[in-house]
Symmetry: C2
Subunit: 210 residues, 2 copies
């Protein structure tokens, strides 16, 4: 595509490197921006910088934050005795949108995946254990429920299992932390005809009285 | 999503306004960028600015360009007696990639679309006629072939027809410009079973000897 200015080719390349954007969509976006008023590109450029410069990570739960503590950890109305463990902030958003969970979060920042060279030390499991220990020492006699909400796939299961084992093997935490896991089963609107065996198995195992 | 920093929400909004990116993909891109090294965001920001600041429009054909004339118009090996009319630079790229066309282009910068309030004066039809007149005056006795390559839909057809009429009604141009249109017919690999009636009709009308 040497019949296009280098600047444009560079920008198409940059957009192509983002998740979910192929070279064709990248070209479409760049041409759209070139046609649009300058402000659109300049605004996007400014906001890209701002997001990087002034966004912090919450010191308590590792969610994205403007301050030392994120909006959720700052909120005194949240139940401190429940901590829900998610892979990343996107999962946190999905759960927070439902409005059903009123506890706190812990963002792992990844998932154990030997295939991709991610071990337990690369994600925030140590930080989670430390956080739980601090709670256990500070609040005598209180049980913390740790709800593990990693994705229902091999890596998510392995990570959940690893965390559960770490807590089981920890003398302090094993007595003070109750580990739970999001239910597996039929998705709303699903057609049993088309559901994979494992999901049906989990739905039968997890069946509840009506 | 007030549980996310305003900067992040702003950036997700900006990405959502780009073509082909919904709110979910926008969020995914923004979280990807937040996880990635700072350079990725800052690079993208810089290139967005550069593309806007230093990209010009070719004074001859209105393609994107680094200089007064684009790479194609600067190339003396191209056939000046053929001008291919496209809606935008994306279409130009698609045609240029095939390597089959060695003439020059004219980028309309849009398509006549009364539904969207785009009339003939909003796109570069006047500029096309002026360009053709200049060629006709400069080169005595030379015919210019004007190949119209607007998309094969209602708006593309209307635009093609409008241009053809303008040339027909122009005393100078009607004698010196031959207007042609890209062939309509079966796409490679198409299954006649599944093709719409209009395409089959066009393919029959345009049938060629073997």
């Amino acid at each position: 595509m040497s019949f296009l200015p280098q600047n444009i080719l560079d920008l198409i390349d940059e957009f192509s490197s983002l998740p979910g954007i192929g070279p064709k969509s990248a070209a479409r976006i760049v041409f759209f921006l070139q046609k649009a008023p300058n402000e659109l590109s300049l605004d996007l450029a400014e906001k890209l910088k701002q997001a990087k410069i002034s966004t912090k990570i919450c010191q308590n739960c590792y969610n994205l934050s403007e301050a030392e503590l994120c909006v959720i950890c700052q909120n005194e109305g949240r139940n401190e005795d429940q901590i829900l463990v998610v892979e990343d902030s996107l999962d946190l958003i999905a759960i927070e949108k439902t409005g059903i969970f009123r506890g706190l979060y812990h963002v792992l920042g990844g998932i154990i995946s030997p295939m991709n060279g991610v071990g337990p030390d690369e994600i925030r499991i140590k930080e989670l254990l430390k956080r739980l220990e601090q709670i256990a020492k500070k609040k005598e006699g209180v049980f913390t429920e740790l709800i593990i909400a990693t994705n229902p796939n091999m890596e998510g299961e392995a990570t959940a299992l690893y965390i559960q084992k770490e807590i089981e093997n920890n003398r302090l935490l094993s007595k003070r932390v109750k580990v739970t896991r999001l239910a597996r089963g039929l998705a709303t609107g699903a057609d049993i005809d088309y559901i994979d065996d494992l999901t049906i198995k989990k739905a039968i195992e997890g069946r509840a009285e009506m």
